[in-house]
């Protein structure tokens, strides 16, 4: 036993980890007190080490850095997002309602993973971002408690996110966060391919929308037998109102143009939902004045009896728009929707063909992405097209057209199920248009002043029965976003996924890879075990 291995004085028996080793036998003179003192000393050291551990971890949690090593910088937030979320003054809670069902060609589980990864980045950059996940199946009680605590409003569905800040909220559907190419296989099967992931743009825009001080106000015009905002019956617009409030974070109000001659000053968007009574010249003047000062108008028009025109045509002509009264008939089997017609005055054989899916979505940002399962459905629609001789400062863009086989029946007394040449207007027929008018002066930030309007030839788009039957309102919501210039609150380049697919691999090559990974490598380990065992025996 060397001197360096002798235990030091009892007061400092554990001179640290660097002290030389000592034999286990302790000197006889070590009494109970000395051992207790040593034990206390060691216990103190351990407590100090534990405190140091907690302290270091706590500080590292507050001050940290992240380095994204992926080639596509898949986990790096843009400067726009970082600036926004680090400057948030109020907490923003993001509630996810995921239902991962793997299999098939559905991209949803992959997108959910990507959104979750993205939310981790948001959380990581700002303590004001709180992410909560609602359990999909288990623990209903907890789910209800979370929804209640967060005061989330409106009907929720799986695979949505609710972005909430104070009393404002916005609902994001998972489909809004990506673009995909569907498999081009007529017999079904095959995998959908992710074209672009737009999660960051959508999330950042939503966070900005709910955290902004001012809330956009949408007015519904009334006084002409329009769809009533407070009405929960089939022809009311209560469900659409709820959608605007909960999903889009808009304040929704009513304006009666017969009682008030000017559009309210806080009106950001005026919706004219399926008017069925005639407008007075003063009312038209109010609408004209509102549009002329840069107003935003969304008109949803319906076919009407010849003597029941709302009389908005003079206004539409000024916008470069022509609304043709009649019923659109879509005989194309690709576009028809087999559902019973709820009402209206489509008669005879055309009744079955008056509910259909729009065929040509054009290139405008309102409609261009509404394809496949998101394509808009129309029911008893009329024609809305660009008028001849529009003013040069007005740009009219068709949004949706019917198929070439369709036709517009303007003589509603005809009973034929087929197109009657000379009487019906041959397809394709435009059903919706977007109007933009340049106004004199500056709109702020150096941008030109402009007025915007969208006219859709289908008033049922905002009605309750349409929601109950189809739950498809993307055309109207996209139109509202475009009118309010919220289509891209913040523009962030979508992330293009890296291609990690195998090139053409033969069955032999698959077998080769399987044999090496499943058999050769483990067997090599067993071989080495045998070899060392034999070596030790020898």
């Amino acid at each position: 036993m060397s001197a360096e291995t002798t235990p030091p004085a009892p007061s400092a028996p554990t001179a640290g980890a660097t002290a030389p080793s000592a034999p286990p036998a302790r000197p006889a003179e070590w009494g109970l007190l000395a051992r207790l003192a040593t034990a206390s000393n060691v216990a103190l050291q351990i407590v100090a080490a534990l405190a140091l551990l907690v302290g270091v971890v706590y500080i590292s949690k507050k001050y940290y850095n992240r380095y994204d090593t992926t080639r596509s910088r898949a986990y790096s937030l843009s400067d726009k997002t970082r600036t926004l979320i680090t400057s948030l003054k109020k907490p923003v809670t993001i509630l996810t309602l995921w239902a991962r069902v793997r299999g098939g060609n559905d991209l949803t589980p992959e997108i959910i993973d990507k959104v979750d990864d993205l939310l981790d980045e948001y959380k990581g950059f700002s303590s004001q971002i709180i992410v909560k996940a609602l359990p999909a199946v288990a623990n209903q009680e907890l789910a209800e408690k979370i929804i209640k605590d967060l005061d989330v409003k409106g009907p929720l569905d799986f695979n949505q996110m609710v972005v909430k800040c104070g009393d404002r909220q916005k609902i994001i559907r998972i489909e809004e966060t990506f673009e995909a190419d569907m498999p081009n296989n007529p017999y079904g099967g095959g995998a959908a391919t992710l074209r672009a992931f737009k999660g960051e743009e959508v999330l950042t825009s939503s966070i900005r929308s709910v955290s902004e001080d001012r809330k956009m106000t949408v007015y519904f015009l009334e006084g002409h037998k329009e769809a009533n905002l407070a009405d929960s019956a089939e022809g009311g617009a209560l469900m659409f109102k709820g959608k605007l409030e909960t999903a889009e974070n808009y304040a929704v109000k009513k304006w009666n143009s017969l009682k008030e001659t000017t559009v309210p000053a806080d009106c950001d968007l005026l919706i004219v939902p399926s008017p069925r009574a005639r407008f007075q010249p003063e009312e038209l003047q109010s609408l004209r004045a509102y549009f002329g000062r840069g107003g935003r108008v969304l008109c949803l028009m319906d076919p009407h009896e010849a003597d029941a025109s709302p009389g908005l045509d003079p206004l539409f002509r000024e916008w470069g728009v022509e609304v043709t009264n009649g019923i659109l008939v879509e005989p194309s089997p690709e576009a028809r929707v087999i559902v019973p017609l709820m009402g209206g005055f489509a008669r005879g054989a055309i009744q079955d063909a008056a509910v259909f899916i729009g065929s040509d979505m054009g290139g405008h940002q309102i409609s261009a992405k509404l394809i496949n399962d998101d394509a808009p459905i129309f029911e008893l629609a009329c024609g809305v097209d660009q008028a001849a001789g529009a003013a040069p400062d007005v740009t009219v863009t068709p949004l949706v057209k019917t198929s070439p086989e369709s036709f517009l029946r303007t003589d509603l007394t005809l009973q034929e199920g087929r197109m009657v040449p000379g009487k019906d207007k041959a397809g394709p027929v435009t059903i919706a248009v977007a109007v933009e008018k340049q106004l004199p002066g500056d709109g702020g930030d150096g941008a030109p002043r402009k007025a915007r309007a969208v006219v859709i030839g289908d008033g049922v788009q905002v009605q309750n029965h349409f929601y109950k039957q189809f739950d498809r309102c993307d055309l109207v919501l996209n139109a509202a976003r475009w009118l309010l210039e919220q289509e891209n609150l913040i523009t962030i380049e979508p992330k293009k996924p890296e291609e990690h697919k195998l090139s053409l691999v033969t069955a032999d090559q698959i077998t080769w890879v399987q044999r090496i990974s499943l058999y050769v490598l483990p067997l090599a380990a067993i071989g080495l075990a045998l070899f060392t065992w034999l070596l030790r025996r020898a």
Binding site: T14, S21, P23, R71, Y75, L142, G190, I510, L518, A529
Partner: protein
């Protein structure tokens, strides 16, 4: 220098013993099975295939392998009596612990080497693997299982029986695994303990590495835990002087 010599001695003990290879074989079988399955499905269905999709199994396997690798390190030496010889050698207790720890980590890195074949296969068949993210995955696996090994060595120093040491370390690692699954909202003294539990979960701290992201919080958490458990191990060895 002494540390290097001791580490080499420990490595020799590992590599010249069939046990290391017996543990390695199932690790390769399970990881190989997962890769073979992912590879076949990606080939036949056109699904994308990335390293992170199948390398995760190593963190789960590490939970079983680390106790097996460490349980005999000190417990067996105490049982067989070689521990006394070791501690009377002119090396510090810290040197003893570090050499055993480094040897175990090097053995784990050796366990990971065959998985480079998966990377090679992905590259050969055009899956365009992201090497930056793959390296990050491996670094994460070394830190994660390195923490498992530090915990394992600590329990090996506490128990005289290697089986007991192995079981204790596995229970502790399983506890860290369960922490990540903590769902119940539990606020007490102004702290959301569910969040604390999730943060403390070793497996949750590995997730950024899995994606290809180095986060200083994760690195510091792993290194702090490794240092803490190695410190406890040194204290355990030292305690034989005064107990």
């Amino acid at each position: 220098m002494k540390l290097l010599t001791l580490t080499r001695r420990e490595l020799g003990a590992y590599f010249l013993h069939p046990m290391a290879y017996i543990v390695l074989a199932p690790v390769l079988f399970f990881s190989g099975g997962l890769f073979a399955d992912a590879f076949a499905r990606a080939s036949l269905n056109g699904y994308p295939i990335e390293m992170r999709h199948f390398i995760d199994i190593f963190n789960f396997l590490g939970m079983f392998v680390a106790p097996l690798m460490t349980m005999r390190l000190l417990a067996e030496e105490k049982k067989s009596g070689t521990f006394e010889m070791l501690v009377t050698a002119p090396v510090t207790d810290t040197g003893i612990v570090l050499s055993k720890y480094f040897a175990a980590v090097i053995l784990w890195i050796f366990f990971l080497v065959p998985s480079l074949f998966y990377l090679f296969a992905l590259n050969k068949f055009g899956a365009n693997p992201d090497y930056g993210a793959a390296v990050c995955n491996y670094v994460g696996l070394v830190l994660l299982v390195g923490t498992f090994l530090a915990i394992g060595i600590f329990f090996s120093s506490t128990a005289a029986n290697q089986i007991v040491a192995g079981i204790l370390s596995f229970i502790t690692l399983f506890f860290f695994y369960l922490l990540g699954l903590f769902q119940i909202e539990s606020k007490w003294a102004g702290v959301d303990w569910a969040e604390v539990a999730k943060y403390a979960s070793l497996f949750n701290r590995y997730q950024n590495f899995q994606k290809g992201v180095y986060d200083t919080r994760d690195v510091i958490y792993f290194l702090s835990l490794i240092a803490f458990f190695l410190f406890l191990t040194v204290k355990m060895i030292e305690s034989r002087r005064w107990r």
